[in-house]
């Protein structure tokens, strides 16, 4: 049954194209990036574009990070925080929130629904679009972790993880990993095109850009 449909569809495609004139290889005359190739300017652009889509953006050095994470959790009244495998323990060393590790016994959807926040790293960040990309690598965890809790704190190692553009981001990503691109908090514009944050994903996205000094 399925095999016949496969053959039928492929046969129809081949018949439909029998007379079609040849097409050229696509020209890629577009730009690789629109932003200047300057790390400081790129970081400013990332900051600005993240903030423009209503993420709250902070800057900290590696040393200042634990205190900032603790303060952000506190500010949102987060008593519990989900912890993905491989998250540097130092990041949560200053918080008193209860840590729920998603390791040997994975947290169920209901567990996650009862968890206030999640702290993760990312695979990279795209300055031109204000986008964070998570690929499930160390310190990021599976996709549900950054979806169900209401607060997501995402840490970007600014120097090595920021790229200018989408064309520069794709070659650095592995398509066989599950990827989540996040540009600001969950939002809807379905009611008279008024933007409302937080429909089903986290209502608040806090981003910490970690700089060396």
């Amino acid at each position: 049954m399925s095999q016949t449909s496969r053959d039928r569809i492929l046969g129809r495609v081949r018949r439909a194209l029998a007379e079609a004139p040849a097409v050229r290889e696509p020209a890629r005359a577009y730009l690789t990036a629109h932003a200047p190739d300057d790390p400081a300017a790129l970081l400013d652009l990332l900051h600005e574009n993240l903030a423009d889509y209503r993420a709250r953006v902070h800057r900290a050095t590696e040393g200042e990070l634990p205190a900032l994470v603790a303060e952000l959790l506190d500010r949102h009244g987060a008593a519990t925080v989900a912890v993905p495998p491989g998250l540097p323990p130092a990041w949560l060393s200053a918080t008193t929130a209860e840590q729920r590790h998603d390791e040997d016994t994975p947290l169920t959807p209901h567990d996650l629904d009862g968890t206030d926040a999640v702290v993760t790293g990312c695979a990279l960040a795209i300055a031109e679009t204000g986008t964070l990309v998570l690929d499930g690598g160390p310190g990021q965890g599976r996709r549900a972790l950054t979806l169900v809790p209401d607060l997501h704190i995402c840490v970007v190692r600014a120097a090595e993880q920021t790229v200018a553009s989408v064309p520069l981001a794709l070659p650095r990503l592995d398509p066989t990993r599950p990827l989540t691109w996040i540009s600001g908090p969950s939002a809807t514009s379905d009611i008279e095109l008024d933007r409302v944050e937080g429909v089903h994903g986290p209502r608040t996205l806090q981003v910490v850009l970690v700089t060396d000094a």
């Binding site: 492929l10 439909a16 097409v23 577009y30 204000g130 996709r143």
Partner: protein, 474 residues
């Protein structure tokens, strides 16, 4: 296509009623103008927009040209990554495949992320007939589903509803489907969104089966891509144990790199954002993350017929951004429902009659649902020449002949005689002016009345222009 639209009147009749609905027109005008203005700003940010548009067009054309090879490559990659690929020739077969897959899980409900393909095949109704309830989870789709309504826009299906109407639908209907709306719900968008969040969360947390479409499928890697804003997509794609994606065969792109074009052009063209809040990409299944079973249903349902038409096949480049709807003067006034299809607006006017043929009166009327102003072509991020296809489809409808077209020929012949005889023309004009109080709003008779049913007749001036000219300038 979807059974919801069976029995719809042809476009002129539906539009005739819609343009007299002042609430609808105000909702539509507000929405389309807001989004088209924002889109222009987002597009202007990219200096290379024209080059991106051209690259998008070329990539899609090349894809269509080798569609058989890319589909086979995609099938291999998805299978190698742990997914299962199914092929569906038409809506009935696709619905059968999905229903059987759901039944095999033992479940009787599924959560759905908004998908044009599943609307096109009427999946929800087909599942209902099998005792399976499908919950739409996109806020606008939820509004449409709760209101027992039909979507009227590709991107913003409830664009025709204002906040007061949405409040009323939530307050009266949510309880029928699950958690009721909170007491004292107002029409503030934030409150309405919160009500939807609470109503749907319980469904997400217990769902075992998710159903989606996809914006892109990458042949090279077997990766599927879904772009969305609310996170309902992420919920459907990651929380259930089984994920079933129903995707039109034209949604394939050859390489991973090709996404660099469409991930720049799609968000800016559709929601006027630099990037939509969430983009999910998955390749088959992943251990300990997301569904353990993944099924991809590749849907033809008229696409190969469209591919066979050398002028019309460019409609298959469409990435469903809906920019053409938001600039169309006809869509803005008539609204999405008048098109009688899940694909409304200019793209619908060329896609629908190609996907399902022009046998019905409605489908034959769609190529005429346009002023041919060309605004749709100008905004299209993959440069579909919609006016060209409209004219091509009109020719096809006209070739089949019919009473309307014989009359048209007679009318043109008569007009040619009058224009060749200036005295007759002048006499006619004077007569028309002097009797203008007696003129009907519509012309009588077949053919002429079809024209004036959906167009207001121009008012006759008090005197012919040529008389006025003689009096004032000579």
């Amino acid at each position: 296509m979807s059974g919801t639209f069976v029995g719809m009147p042809a476009f002129p009749k539906a539009a005739h009623d819609a343009v007299r609905d002042t609430t609808l027109r105000a909702n539509l005008r507000h929405a389309t103008h807001t989004i088209r203005d924002k889109r222009a700003v987002a597009v202007a940010e990219l200096a290379d927009w024209a080059a991106l548009r051209e690259a998008g067009r070329q990539i899609k054309d090349r894809t269509l040209h080798h569609l058989d090879a890319y589909l086979v490559q995609l099938e291999e990659a998805v299978t190698a990554a742990g997914g299962t690929v199914h092929w569906a020739s038409d809506a009935a077969e696709a619905n059968r495949i999905v229903a059987d897959l759901v039944k095999a899980t033992g479940e009787t409900e599924v959560v759905k992320v908004k998908s044009m393909a599943t609307q096109e095949i009427g999946l929800n109704e087909a599942l209902e007939a099998e005792g399976i309830r499908a919950y739409e989870t996109d806020l606008a789709e939820l509004i449409v589903q709760l209101g027992e309504d039909r979507p009227s826009h590709i991107l913003v299906p409830a664009i025709h509803r204002n906040r007061g109407e949405i409040r009323d639908i939530f307050a009266s209907e949510m309880g029928e489907w699950g958690r009721p709306a909170p007491d004292g719900l107002t029409d503030r968008p934030a409150e309405l969104a919160e009500a939807a969040r609470l109503h749907l969360r319980e469904k997400f947390l217990r769902a075992k089966v998710g159903v989606s479409g996809a914006n892109f499928m990458v042949a090279e890697t077997g990766t599927l891509v879904v772009v969305e804003s609310e996170g309902n997509g992420r919920m459907c794609l990651t929380l259930p144990e089984t994920l079933i994606s129903v995707v039109g065969i034209e949604k394939v792109v050859p390489t991973w790199r090709d996404l660099e074009v469409f991930l720049q052009t799609l968000p800016r063209s559709s929601t006027a954002e630099r990037m939509n809040p969430y983009t999910s990409m998955w390749t088959g299944t992943t251990d300990a993350d997301g569904p353990t079973a993944f099924h991809l249903v590749l849907l033809d349902n008229g696409r190969t017929d469209t591919l066979a038409d050398e002028v019309g096949r460019q409609a298959l480049r469409c990435i469903r951004c809906s920019a053409c709807l938001n600039v169309c003067p006809v869509y803005e006034r008539a609204g999405g429902h008048a098109y009688g299809s899940v694909y409304p607006g200019p793209i619908g006017a060329i896609l629908t009659p190609q996907l399902r043929g022009t046998r019905s009166e409605l489908d034959a009327s769609l190529p005429y649902a346009s002023s041919l102003c060309g605004a749709c072509y100008d905004v299209c991020p993959v440069a579909i020449d919609i006016p060209e296809v409209l004219v091509h489809l009109r020719e096809k409808v006209a070739e089949r002949g019919g009473p309307g077209h014989r009359l048209e020929k007679a009318a043109v012949k008569a007009a040619a005689w009058v224009l060749d005889h200036p005295a007759a023309l002048a006499a006619g004009e004077r007569l028309a002016s002097r009797t203008r109080a007696l003129h009907p709003k519509r012309l009588p008779g077949p053919g002429a009345s079809q024209w004036t049913e959906s167009r207001d007749l121009p008012e006759m001036p008090a005197e012919p222009f040529r008389d006025w000219w003689k009096r004032n300038r000579t």
